[in-house]
C-alpha cells in the first residue's frame, strides 16, 4: 500500500504538496482534455492514435462524470469558503442533502470549522441552482 500511512482524504490529510496544489473538478479537467483532443483532431485523421491510454481513459471518465458544462458555472462554484479538495469532491459528487454532503466530505464538519448545517444547506442549494441555470 501507499507509503504515506497517515493519508486520509476524509480528514484532509493529503500531504502538504497536495493541500497547496490546485484541485480540479471533473468538469474543469474535461474542458482542457477536450480542447487538447480537438487540437489533435485538427492535426490528425486519427486523434485516438496520438494519445496515451491514460489520456483516453481520463477523457472518457471526466466527460461522463462532469456535473457542470459551463466554465462560468464552474467559476461560481469555486467561490465558497472550503478547502479546494472539499469543494472539488462536492462539485464532482453533487450531494443533495446536508447528510450526504457530510458523509462525502466528513472534514467540513470537523471541530472548529465554521460550517453549521444551515450554512452547508445554503451552499448545496446554491450549487444546485448554479447547475440548474448554467
Amino acid at each position: 500500500m501507499s507509503g504515506e500511512e497517515e493519508e486520509n482524504a476524509a480528514e484532509l490529510k493529503i500531504g502538504e504538496e497536495f493541500l497547496k496544489a490546485k484541485c480540479l473538478m471533473n468538469c474543469e479537467v474535461a474542458l482542457i482534455l477536450e480542447h487538447k483532443y480537438e487540437q489533435l483532431q485538427q492535426m490528425s485523421d486519427d486523434p485516438m492514435n496520438q494519445v496515451s491510454q491514460v489520456f483516453e481513459k481520463s477523457l472518457q471518465y471526466v466527460k461522463r462524470f462532469s456535473r457542470y458544462k459551463n466554465p462560468d458555472a464552474v467559476r461560481q462554484v469555486r467561490e465558497y469558503q472550503l478547502a479546494e479538495f472539499e469543494l472539488c469532491v462536492l462539485g464532482n459528487l453533487c450531494p443533495e442533502t446536508v447528510e450526504e454532503a457530510i458523509a462525502m466530505v466528513p472534514s467540513i464538519k470537523t471541530k472548529g470549522r465554521a460550517h453549521d448545517d444551515d450554512a452547508i444547506e445554503r451552499m448545496l442549494n446554491d450549487l444546485s441552482l448554479i447547475k440548474k441555470f448554467e
Partner: protein, 183 residues
C-alpha cells in the same frame, strides 16, 4: 482527485543532438516524450497534460561524451487517488468475491464482497450483487465508492485501489451516458 501540480524533471539531451543550438522546442518535445513513457509517479499520480512551462535551467554537461541535462520546471494536470476519498467508477467485472471497477486511468479498484455487506451475490449469465431494496450492482453500472486503500505498482506504473460501499450515500448511482468516448 485531479490536481494541477508543479513538477521538475531532468531532460537529457544526447551529444549527437548538440551539433546545433538546442531549442526550447526540442527540450520540451523530449520532456513530453519522457512524461509519456513515465506515465505516472507514486508521488504525483497519472500525468494527463502539461499546462505551463515555468523554467528551463542551463544545461549541465553530464559526462565526457557531452550528454547534457536541462532541468525543466512545469505544471501538469495529474490524477491521484487518496484513501478516504469518495469516487465514482464503472463496474467492469463481477465474481462471487467482489467487483472490479474502473475509475479514470485506474483500471483496478477492487470492491470486495466483504465491503458490500448489504448486497447478495446473484450468479448467472449476468452476475450481479443485489440488496434488499433491489439496488443492483452489475457490469456497466456506476458505483459511488469510498477508497479504503491505494497501492502503487511500480512494474506497470499503475495505482490499484481497495473500495467499499458500506456507508451512507455509497453504492450504485444512476447517471446518464455511457462509458464509450463520443467521437
Amino acid at each position: 482527485m485531479f490536481f494541477e501540480v508543479e513538477l521538475q524533471r531532468d531532460v537529457k539531451i544526447n551529444a549527437t543532438n548538440l551539433d546545433k543550438p538546442v531549442s526550447r522546442r526540442f527540450i520540451l518535445a523530449c520532456l513530453l516524450d519522457n512524461l509519456f513513457k513515465e506515465k505516472a509517479s507514486e508521488d504525483h499520480g497519472y500525468f494527463l497534460a502539461v499546462t505551463r512551462l515555468k523554467s528551463i535551467g542551463k544545461g549541465n554537461v553530464m559526462d565526457e561524451s557531452g550528454n547534457t541535462v536541462f532541468t525543466v520546471v512545469f505544471t501538469c494536470r495529474t490524477f491521484k487517488p487518496f484513501p478516504g476519498e469518495e469516487l465514482q467508477g464503472v463496474v467492469r467485472y463481477i465474481s462471487q468475491h467482489g467487483v472490479l471497477l474502473k475509475c479514470g486511468p485506474v483500471s483496478n479498484a477492487f470492491l470486495s464482497a466483504w465491503k458490500m455487506s448489504k448486497y447478495q451475490y446473484i450468479p448467472g449469465k449476468k452476475p450481479a450483487f443485489l440488496n434488499n431494496e433491489l439496488s443492483k450492482i452489475e457490469k456497466g453500472v456506476v458505483v459511488c465508492f469510498l477508497v479504503l486503500a491505494v497501492r502503487w505498482i511500480n512494474a506497470s506504473r499503475d495505482f490499484e485501489m481497495l473500495a467499499s460501499v458500506d456507508a451512507d450515500s455509497l453504492g450504485p448511482v444512476s447517471l446518464p451516458g455511457s462509458d464509450e468516448l463520443e467521437l
